[in-house]
Symmetry: C3
Subunit: 273 residues, 3 copies
């Protein structure tokens, strides 16, 4: 149950190592705190192995990658694999530049990820970057709709199987899938896309949920996705007419801070396929 997944975070206060972009990093830290976990940000090659070792999980986000931090990502990821820590990849903007596409490709080759989370274009870009999934393009539309839902689920399940990890695609409809089972989640609001970094925030939160729920990664990731979407709904309900995306950002983090297992269980809107 999703309830337990959240409660395990609050109970265990997992420490999450983040190598993430400087645009949304403050919000990522506050979201990780809001859900009951604890963040550490560290990206220097000389310390990432030490930091990863004292944490329970690793969140790699390529948002403002550079030649220095790419090396740190690989080093930290390998160390986390060695320690059997969950590792998440957020391939921000993959496909937007050769550097991002190449880096994402290297990362999935060198590191075994527990979860890869992105929007549908990023996941598509990542899947197409690997030669074995060249054919995905024709079948995977750029927006997940009720019309292409079943087909998209099949493609993502296949990709999850190939990658041996959970794939989380967020958008109007969110999908969290492993090779067998796909959560189709309909929480959230379209206005969330007017806030920078709700995706990055979610990736940080998913990593916290993974650490607190070992052996149950698919449901843990689904619980984090539902928490974010539901917080988006609750946060929106407290907005005044004159408030906009900046206050909405705060309201969502506030709603995560106040989320309890019961609220999550009752507010989560999902089906499993």
């Amino acid at each position: 149950m999703l309830k337990e997944c959240l409660e395990n975070v609050r109970k265990n206060t997992p420490l999450v190592h983040n190598i993430t972009n400087y645009v949304t990093v403050n919000d990522v830290a506050n979201v990780i705190l809001a859900c009951g976990a604890s963040p550490i940000m560290a990206d220097d090659e000389m310390e990432v192995e030490d930091i990863t070792s004292i944490c329970g999980g690793l969140n790699i986000n390529i948002g403002t990658l550079n030649s220095r931090t790419i090396k740190s990502m690989i080093k930290a990821g390998k160390k986390a694999n060695l320690l059997n820590h969950p590792v998440l990849l957020d391939p921000v903007g993959v496909g937007a530049s050769q550097l991002r596409s190449q880096t994402a490709k290297t990362l999935v080759q060198e590191i075994q990820f527990s979860v890869i989370r992105g929007n549908i274009s990023e996941i598509k870009g990542l899947a197409l970057g690997s030669s074995t999934t060249q054919g995905v393009d024709a079948n995977m539309a750029d927006t997940v709709t009720d019309e292409n839902l079943m087909e998209t689920i099949q493609v993502l399940k296949q990709y999850a199987k190939e990658m041996h990890c959970v794939i989380a695609v967020t958008g109007a409809i969110d999908l969290v899938t492993d090779a067998q089972k796909c959560y189709v989640i309909r929480n959230g609001r379209k206005e969330m896309s007017s806030i920078t970094g709700t995706g990055c925030q979610l990736s940080g939160m998913i990593t916290a949920f993974l650490v607190a729920n070992p052996g149950n990664f698919t449901e843990a990731a689904a619980a984090a996705v539902c928490t974010m979407g539901l917080a988006g709904e609750i946060g929106y309900s407290h907005l005044q007419a004159y408030e906009g995306n900046s206050t909405y950002r705060n309201r969502i983090i506030d709603a995560i801070y106040n989320m309890d297992g019961k609220t999550l269980e009752e507010g989560a809107k999902y089906e499993i396929y």
Copy 2:
């Protein structure tokens, strides 16, 4: 009309490439989203040309420049020039260090900017850095007042002519000028200077307005400056007595988010000289 300039942003959702400082980058991203555009932050030499190519315009801010990002600024700027994209320079703190002065000088030599935006000291510092404008100092006071207004406008028009670009000077009185025409704008509140990065935010927003209003850069920049100032007035009107600069920051971005063409047209306070 300013109204159309804003509406064109909301209609076209331009993509803006930002190479900007890590202090205010999150607010810059949220302001760009608030006005209806879309931000990308990327500063690695290996990817800036790719990123600039998929965007409509480039915002260069030297706020926390370093040896690595300076190279990226030049590379991205040249690429944007080649593609005929508008490019904005925000010479944050020019004059405060040799590195900033030298970098700003190199940038204006290597890149053709569409708009340069700064406070009066920064614009003065930049103008003095180039040998042809050595004499500006005596004529350009450190604060724009009603007393030195006409003289300052003449100096700025001359500088705009030399640089072949629009010069935007923000402060108690804002000036947006090309070689012929100067907007004298009296929106905004003095409390805005207690918030870090309102200038950086404005630079990001101007860039979005430039992309959405090709061939009309002076008015586009003036429209963005009026939007920011008016949002500062509207945001302030919603503050409680116990609220301060942090909430004010959010209220301004919220007011940009809710700004429509009619509100802008009616609230903009400017004269043209």
Copy 3:
């Protein structure tokens, strides 16, 4: 009196040079503005000496240190020493990695600090890193409580004496001490630890207080610590039930913005030992 310490900041608007982490940097800048000072962030080796020279004080925070910025920290710190500017060290996460421990050790060897501020574990980690204080471990507990208070004060006074600087330890009970005199401060709320960077914010604010109160560093640091804690209490009193750590962050900065000498003097809860 604490009152004068705050009023001196508002009167003199000191300029503070910050070499700090990219996680909390925006909040640090807004807190420095909120208390009446002015922040500059600059971390490139080529400009830190210039920037430090135009400022009144230097805040060094090792939160997201890297090989490039470590060099800048040392260079800026030495320059600030030469100019007799107050310099603060915030040894974020010292002990969490070899790099942080080694860097902090180098910093305290190469630079004379005016104040070192951290939580009890960081101060402990730093003290243990230097060979002359190896024995501190047994005497310094990981939480300051009423039970170990007197013993902890003695240990910290000894450390302050060795370092020739003020030591500020923040937590449930805050301690600000020099070799002679220790302020035991009981402002603040436990919920402040759910916000990322309240420690970093405080370090920035202390530096501003040091610059504005030359020759009175212990009381200046204590005044800043009381201001932060009291702002935490005032900010909390304005929170709605549905609000959480993100809005709380804003409310604290707002409360600093609105803090006056009289409110501080009346609200500060401290004893001197």
